[in-house]
Each structure stands twice: as structure tokens, then as C-alpha cells.
């Protein structure tokens, strides 16, 4: 959770992750946009060796920190 939090803070919040909780809506609020979604997916793949099946590459899995961590938990290499 912490490293994902740190990545989002660093890359999408200019270092200020104080208000970022595990249920903050990342896509709805525009913290992570369509380009950011890919950046995030590449980060998960490269940092945690997450190998996602095709059907799991979808926005619902990137809604908030909780769904991202759950995704990593399911597919971590």
C-alpha cells in the first residue's frame, strides 16, 4: 500500500499526499487520468511483477488505493 501511495503522491500529486486515503476516488477526481492510468499500470507491472490477464486491465481495478492493492495481491508474480 505504501509504495503505491508514494508513487501516486510523487507522480500525480506533486509530492503532497496528505489527503490521499485508501478510498480516495482516483479516476473520478481526475488525480489519475487516462495517461496516468497507463503510468500506474506500468509501475505495478515493473515494480511488483504484476502480470494481469487481459480482462483485468480495466478502470474498475484502479478506482482507489484499495482496489489497486487488491489487484496487486491477486496477480503479484
Amino acid at each position: 500500500m505504501q509504495s503505491v501511495h508514494a508513487f501516486i503522491t510523487e507522480n500525480f500529486l506533486d509530492g503532497d499526499g496528505a489527503g490521499l486515503t485508501e478510498t480516495t476516488a482516483l479516476l473520478q477526481t481526475g488525480i489519475v487520468d487516462s495517461i496516468g492510468m497507463l503510468k500506474l499500470l506500468v509501475f505495478l507491472r515493473d515494480s511488483f511483477q504484476v502480470k494481469l490477464p487481459e480482462e483485468e486491465v480495466r478502470p474498475e481495478n484502479l478506482m482507489n488505493l484499495r482496489t489497486i492493492v487488491a489487484l496487486v495481491g491477486r496477480y503479484r508474480g
Binding site: D14, G30, S34, I35, L38, R45, E54, E55
Partner: protein
């Protein structure tokens, strides 16, 4: 049968009475919704009712077959391909065939081959872009495993044909609507009050749009280049018209659905207060933006991602936005609009990516900084608005030139200035009432609620119905 017509009021009154008092079971309610929706659609063009039902039934059976073949990935993929080809084929035939023929003939002319002038006479089925996308997303979701293919078609058919959103959206995900259709629930009474409010606000905003359309039509329809004042007046008026028209339609659709006990997600979120082009795309016609993100943009970048390569998001973004342009209309003008939007969005993303401090400043600044960010974003939006409204590329050039370099100071008359003033009032009013009804927490409980409702309805009765239709019906 327009939402702001007497005919629709009668239709809905009869439908509501039957729905509330004459149907008890889920299947009776769904059957009534399906029949009512077919009647609603037939009022536009009865010949296309079989097309609407046919594509939905086809997708239902494809999804069913996918469900049966859940373990067979190859077969599921083939079934999905069939669904996409058929849906896009139908959409392509009705919406794009003459555009393709015309473009091919133009190309033949260009290389010196004598081109025929054969075109297919076909009327565009109203709302086809909306219900095709709606229906197709069901098979895609079943393929992805986020939904399971239903055994009984009634809920799905009623969901696709559901008349509040049938002809101009919002494009509601099957995953949002279908569960509501399968398990009816009673909403709290506040939801019905909100439904009434949204209908009143929608009718009001549509009336404002109709009034603004008179200014737009006069200036954009006039021969020759407009003056600077006219160009800004007409373009601001069209920005207000298209917002009032479409968000008004959406509000009525959401309100009508609420009165029937269904919740449809919002489609607009005060888009003209956005601080960047990327944000305005998130807040304008949200159901289409997210549809394109999930079903076009992501599949485009997915292949590289899954193969372990670094995806190329900007290429995918460009393709998606050009397709968004084509979705709006089968002309090269809309392709050009998509290209311009693609360039603006790419520049926006690259800028924010390279300079995160600047991004943060834009998103969090208050006062003058916020006004500047909103102003610059709106300016870029207006450039797209000109392309949306102008009848041809020549007119686009004339209007954009006039907006920036137009002179004719002699034309700065009181009546023209007054027109601009009323246009700005109309533009601001549209967002003000949307803010009041969607963002203001206590408005619904306030003493001003019922008087405002009466005012909006009276205004709509007095000034509504000037324009013959809703702008987004053509899409």
C-alpha cells in the same frame, strides 16, 4: 416525441399511471417499459424499431453464448468479434456509408478517375450511436467477465430501449442499469422530488438554449464574415446553447428515470468551470468520455502493455479523440475537430507531465489564477465549438479570424452589445442552475425550492419549443 412537447407529457402521464398502478410484478413492469419505449421510438420512425430490438436481441444471444463458453477463451473472443463487427457494421451502414462513398469519390476525382455519384438513400435512425454503444458494451463486459450473460432477455432489452435515455443518452453501462431492472426497489421520496426538479431544470435549460439558438443561427447563417463582436457573441451563444440543450436533455432523462425509480449517473459536471482541456473532457458528456476511455482507449494501449512493452498513450489518445469526432458526425469537419482536440489534449497532458508543479498550481489555485485557468480552458473549448457549429471549413476560418482579428469598430452598436450581454447571462444561467441543483447541498430542503421549480416551469412554458429539436439527436 420531444421531451419538451405536449405529446411527451401525455405519453409520460399515461405511462406513469400504468407503471405505478397497473403493474405489480417485475416482468409486467419490464414488459411495459419495453412496449412504452418501442412506442416512444416509433414516434420518431416506426421502421427502425426492429433495428433497435434486433441489435439488442443479437447482443443478448451473443452474450448468452459467451456465458456458455466461459472456459473457452478463443470461442468467446470470436463471439465478441462477431458482436463488434455487426454493431459497428450496422452503425457504419446507417451513419457512415454515404460519408465513405463521398470520400472515395472525392479521392477518385483527385487522381483523375471519373467517379460515380451513387449514394444510398437512408435516413439516420435517431439515437443509433447511443443505443449501439449501449448494447455493444454489454457483450464486451460479458467477455471481460465483469458481467455475466443473462438467461432472460427482458431486463436487458428494456434497459437498452429504456426511453428516457434511448435517443440521446446518457450511455448507461449495463452493469449500472441491469441490476436495477432485475430487482425493483422503492426510492426515498426525496428521489422523486429530485426527479421533478431535474425535469424542471432540464426544461428551463432547454428553453435558454432555444433562445440562444436564435442568436447563433442569425450570425452563423449570415453570408460573409462576422465582425469581432458578432463572432464572439455567436460562439459564446452556441457554447451556451449546446450546454443548455444537451445537459437539459440529460437532466430531463435522469429526472424521468428517477420518477420511475431508476438512478442514472450524471452526464455533466459544470464543464465550463474546468481548469484544463483534460478536465473539461472529464466533465462534459461523461458517459461518452468514460465509454471511449474504457472501450477504445484502453484496448488500444492494452496490447503493448500486456506484451511487456511501454504503451504509447498519446497515439491511442489521438485515435480515441478522432473517433469521438466521428461519433458526433460523419463529416471531415468532425474528423478535423477530433484532430484539434487531440492536439490540445496531448499538449495539455505533456505540459502537466513535464511540469507537475504547474499542474498543481492550475488545479489548486484560487482567485485570479483560477479565473485564468478557467478562461484559457474555455477559450480552447470555444475554438472547438466553432468547428461544431460552422456549416463548412470556410465559415470556421471566417469566424475564428473575426474572433481574433475582426475589426469593424463601427458595428459596436448598443443592440449588438446588449445581445452579447444577454448571451453571457444565458451562458452563466445554465451553469448557475446546474450548480444549484447538483452541488448545493440544502437547496432541495430550502424554502426557495418550490418557487424556483414553478419559475423554471413557467419560463420553459413561455420560451420553450423555439428550436425544432435537440442538438444531440443528430448524433
Amino acid at each position: 416525441m420531444l421531451f419538451n412537447s405536449v405529446l411527451f407529457a401525455i405519453f409520460f402521464a399515461v405511462f406513469f399511471a400504468l407503471y405505478t398502478f397497473a403493474t405489480r410484478t417485475t416482468s409486467a413492469k419490464l414488459t411495459l417499459i419495453l412496449i412504452g419505449s418501442c412506442v416512444f421510438y416509433a414516434s420518431w420512425d416506426y421502421r427502425y424499431v426492429p433495428l433497435l430490438l434486433g441489435t439488442a436481441i443479437f447482443d443478448f444471444f451473443i452474450a448468452r453464448a459467451m456465458e456458455v463458453a466461459r472456459a473457452d477463451r478463443v470461442r468467446r473472443k470470436r463471439l465478441l468479434a462477431v458482436s463488434i463487427i455487426v454493431n459497428l457494421g450496422v452503425l457504419g451502414f446507417f451513419k457512415y456509408i454515404n460519408f465513405l462513398l463521398g470520400s472515395a469519390y472525392g479521392l477518385m476525382d483527385l487522381v483523375g478517375i471519373s467517379a460515380p455519384s451513387f449514394f444510398i438513400e437512408v435516413a439516420l435512425p435517431v439515437g443509433i450511436s447511443f443505443y449501439t454503444f449501449q448494447s455493444m458494451s454489454y457483450t464486451i463486459d460479458v467477455y471481460r467477465g465483469t458481467l455475466y450473460g443473462r438467461n432472460h432477455p427482458l431486463g436487458f432489452l428494456a434497459g437498452v430501449a429504456f426511453f428516457p435515455h434511448l435517443v440521446a443518452g446518457p450511455i448507461i453501462r449495463t452493469s449500472v442499469l441491469l441490476p436495477q431492472f432485475e430487482s425493483f426497489r422503492t426510492l426515498p421520496w426525496q428521489a422523486y422530488r429530485r426527479g421533478l426538479m431535474l425535469i424542471a431544470v432540464g426544461l428551463f435549460n432547454k428553453s435558454v438554449a432555444d433562445l440562444l439558438s436564435q442568436v447563433v443561427d442569425r450570425i452563423y447563417g449570415a453570408p460573409g464574415a462576422p465582425t469581432m463582436l458578432e463572432a464572439w457573441t455567436a460562439t459564446l451563444a452556441f457554447a451556451g446553447q449546446v450546454y443548455g440543450d444537451f445537459s437539459g436533455y440529460t437532466d430531463i432523462a435522469i429526472g424521468v428515470a428517477l420518477l420511475l425509480g431508476f438512478e442514472i449517473p450524471p452526464n455533466f459536471d459544470l464543464p465550463y468551470l474546468s481548469r484544463s482541456p483534460a478536465e473539461i473532457w472529464r466533465r462534459w458528456h461523461m458517459s461518452l468520455s468514460t465509454w471511449l476511455r474504457d472501450y477504445v482507449y484502453l484496448p488500444l494501449v492494452k496490447r503493448d502493455y500486456l506484451a511487456g512493452r511501454n504503451p504509447r498513450p498519446y497515439r491511442a489518445l489521438f485515435i480515441t479523440v478522432i473517433l469521438a469526432g466521428l461519433w458526433h458526425g460523419a463529416t471531415w469537419m468532425f474528423v478535423a475537430w477530433g484532430l484539434v482536440q487531440g492536439m490540445i489534449l496531448t499538449a495539455n497532458h505533456v505540459l502537466f507531465d513535464r511540469y507537475p508543479k504547474f499542474k498543481r498550481k492550475v488545479n489548486t489555485s484560487t482567485g485570479l489564477g483560477a479565473v485564468l485557468a478557467i478562461g484559457v480552458t474555455f477559450y480552447f473549448w470555444l475554438l472547438g465549438v466553432v468547428m461544431f457549429r460552422a456549416p463548412n471549413i470556410g465559415k470556421v476560418g471566417e469566424v475564428v479570424r473575426a474572433m481574433h482579428f475582426g475589426t469593424s469598430p463601427g458595428s459596436f452598436t448598443w443592440s449588438a452589445s446588449l445581445t452579447l450581454f444577454f448571451v453571457i447571462v444565458g451562458l452563466v444561467t445554465g451553469h448557475a442552475v446546474s450548480w444549484l441543483t447538483n452541488r448545493h447541498r440544502t437547496f432541495q430542503e430550502s424554502i426557495a425550492f418550490w418557487p424556483m421549480l414553478v419559475f423554471w416551469m413557467t419560463f420553459a412554458l413561455a420560451f420553450g419549443g423555439i428550436a425544432p429539436s435537440f442538438v444531440y439527436f443528430q448524433f
